[in-house]
């Protein structure tokens, strides 16, 4: 398990290579990149990502451990950036390796959904109308809840 919280950008290609290095029983790697969107209707010149040092790493590690307990994974990693980010920049990378694709997809989506509601990050956008704190989306709570309870099958697909 690799967890990194950093101001610097990352290279998804290198991270993917690292994730699958040295284990030839890996058959599937699912990964995710989250980016700073720039919409014409609501231009964001830049944003600042604040976090809670200490708790951030702890909560990300707990989320990844939960994924590992839930699915037979062969590797999982999360990189989350903090600080000043411009439109188009990478915010977060999640990668999961397993023998088969179903587990890799489920665990990767689970981790992204969980960190959206459980990891202490806050986005402040700087727009032409001034700065504004991004509001939490009800859809994120909903996405996180779909993984609660039940067996793996229903958790993945219901």
């Amino acid at each position: 398990m690799a967890i990194r919280v950093q101001t610097e950008d990352f290279d998804a290609g290198s991270e993917l290579r690292r994730l699958r290095a040295g284990d030839r029983t890996i058959g599937a790697v699912a990964s995710f990149v989250g980016l700073v969107r720039d919409l014409a209707s609501a231009p964001v010149a830049e944003m600042v990502l604040e976090h809670y040092p200490g708790m951030t790493e702890k909560s990300l590690a707990a989320i990844v451990s939960e994924a590992q307990a839930r699915w037979p994974l062969l590797g999982a990693a999360v990189i989350h950036r903090v600080g000043r980010l411009r439109a188009g920049e990478q915010i977060v990378w999640v990668g999961v390796a397993s023998a088969h694709r179903k587990e890799a997809f489920a665990a990767c989506e689970f981790i992204v959904d969980a960190l959206k509601t459980r990891a202490p990050f806050w986005k402040k956008e700087y727009t032409p109308d001034g700065p504004r704190w991004v509001e939490a989306r009800p859809a994120d709570e909903q996405a996180a809840r779909k993984w609660e309870g039940g067996d793996d099958e229903s958790a993945q697909r219901s």
Binding site: M55, P120, A136
Partner: protein, 84 residues
């Protein structure tokens, strides 16, 4: 002593990022701590008003209103998270 931390909109509107306070009499959980802080008035009463979407963590784990607080704990208040 309690170590209190505030993040994001709360940190800005309260004008404080961190403080150390003696464990106040009557504070046993997150709810009673929030009530104690609201009694400071002004921004404290507004930001921590019941019904506002505020989250808390005790010793760096997500907490609920009824989560116990003991002397020496680190307690943080913040808005719902928006990372990822």
């Amino acid at each position: 002593m309690l170590k209190l931390l505030y993040f994001a909109r709360l940190r800005e509107n309260l004008g404080v990022a961190a403080e150390q306070i003696a464990l106040p009499a009557g504070v046993v959980d997150v709810e009673t701590l929030a009530r104690h802080l609201r009694a400071r008035g002004d921004a404290w009463a507004r930001e921590l008003a019941p019904g506002r979407p505020i989250r808390a963590a005790v010793n760096q784990s997500m907490a609920r209103e009824e989560t116990r607080i003991r002397d020496g704990d680190e307690v943080a208040f913040f808005p719902p998270v928006t990372g990822g």
